[in-house]
Assembly symmetry: C2
Homo-oligomer: 311 residues x 2
């Protein structure tokens, strides 16, 4: 009897890893006897579009809800309900592969759950291919390598582990790519900021946090030239101020990160007290709404924890 | 720099797997460079005591709370907070190895989480030893084999998978035991019911469930002779009736399971409607407070789901 079909997908607003880890995990599971299809919970961003075009890979079908299509699903790169399909509670989650904390997640039945605190889910999936001794197809290896480059900013993010480094080397060899040169090209493709409005840029990769009663919004854009991005500084400030009034944020932090030099300039707008807290937490000075943050690339690891601790 | 010490433990009211999976996983992690100690959240039950005496193995230190002893812990065979140490929220959970559903569990940070829907956690730990190519010491192999025998009732429970079968065979070979004869002896050691009061027996392995507003309690005792156990039928009924009044249960199901023949007789006491629901769900007849349940051995898999669906 053929296995019941399952869908495999990453989080909403997908990035390269969310989509490609789903593609890689779906292929692996099908080799092991499952009947799965990888899908995406959104259209590709600029970087991901570059990746799929570059390797002539088929971007998965885009869905936003299961709508009764299947009864069982597998999640990659997320577990929190609000990051998943809208009707996630109507289906059985049979497998999860992830590298985030576990929160707002509950199942009725036992399941396969594989989480490891590595830089990229595709690194975990690479380990699983090796454990199962399944050969990784060239094109899938290229997508997985691209995911690791994306999530670790070419192995420079402090979230990078030795296993991410080993995986990227191995996958690049299989895919026949020079990950240093390809990686730079790929990251740059994701920084074509001119095609977006400043409002789109402060929304694109933004997360909200409650820090001891303060509503804090932290957005991040990657660039290859911070000065060039800051030519639109006046528009950023106008949009952020409007957003703070509109949504009641006490503090808005826009991290403009140079992926080549691994430095960040922050545009910081909010209550006087909140700005003072930011200065103390990040050991920097905010002047003319801007702060220099040398060596900062990871919101998750270098900005949220010290800020959360100071509030 | 030596690694910070962590404690490894299974659930409260520990059974053979909860304790032995902790012992086996702690040893594995120490081989991989961690600094851990396995502990138990309770004294051994009759079966577990037999196992540790039989192999002259040291039963882990018993704790009920962390009390600031360590900052980080690893969980095996459970994840739900109410089954763990009382102060679980005060420490960081860095690793989980489990075979249950995920519920009432949340972390602040990413972690290692390995769950698989297999019959026994020790089977998952056995896979991890193989993946890491770490040799399993004879005594630990014996404890892991005992765990699989315990959780799967000598491979007869419907929760048993092919991987549990493979693991038991391999571990028995390493430990130098004949798992059929040893397993029967071990399971019988856990059925020395005469040493317990009927009140202890209906408490020993009992779980509460809310089924569509009905408060349902399901207890299970293992025996090698159901008729012999039912010599104390009048006392069981008296204690259960008192319990129903005291705790407000709508239905109490005591499963008396013959581990040799894999059959169960239920002692069923509760509201008329609830008893009717039980009869329909399990396709049986309750007469004189008793119901025959041939082939039933697993509460989790054969009793809770049909009952929950009927209420």
């Amino acid at each position: 009897m053929p296995k019941e079909k399952e869908l495999v997908f990453g989080h909403k607003n997908p990035d390269t890893d969310a989509v490609s880890a789903a593609v890689a995990y779906s292929y692996l599971q099908n080799q092991l006897g499952y009947n799965t299809e990888a899908v995406a919970l959104g259209e590709p961003n600029l970087e991901t579009k570059f990746v799929y075009d570059h390797f002539d890979a088929k971007y998965p079908r885009v869905i936003s809800a299961i709508n009764g299509e299947v009864k069982k699903v597998m999640l990659v790169d997320h577990n929190e309900r609000q990051q998943s399909v809208s009707d996630i509670d109507d289906v059985q989650i049979t497998h999860v592969v992830d590298h985030h904390r576990i929160a707002n997640f509950e199942t009725k039945l036992p399941l396969y759950y594989r989480a490891e605190p590595l830089g990229c889910v595709s690194t975990i999936v690479w380990k699983m291919y090796n454990e199962e001794e399944i050969e990784i197809p060239t094109k899938i290896a290229a997508l997985m390598a691209s995911s690791i480059i994306s999530d670790t900013l070419l192995l420079k993010s402090p979230t990078t582990t030795d296993e991410d480094r080993d995986a990227l080397k191995d996958l690049s060899k299989i895919a026949g790519i020079d990950y240093e040169s390809y990686g730079l090209e790929m990251l740059k493709a994701g920084t074509n900021l001119d095609s977006k409005s400043t409002q789109e840029l402060i929304d694109m990769d933004a997360k909200s946090f409650d820090m001891n009663g303060n509503s804090v919004r932290i957005a991040q854009v990657n660039t290859v030239d911070i000065d060039d991005t800051l030519k639109r500084e006046a528009d950023f400030i106008k949009d952020i101020k409007a957003e703070n009034v509109d949504k009641g944020y006490n503090l808005f932090v826009l991290l403009i990160t140079n992926i080549l030099t691994s430095d960040t300039t922050g545009v910081i707008i909010g209550d006087d007290d909140a700005i003072k807290t930011f200065e103390e937490a990040l050991n920097t000075k905010v002047s003319d709404n801007k702060a220099s943050l040398p060596g900062v690339v990871s919101r998750k690891k270098q900005v949220v924890p010290p800020l959360d601790a100071k509030f």
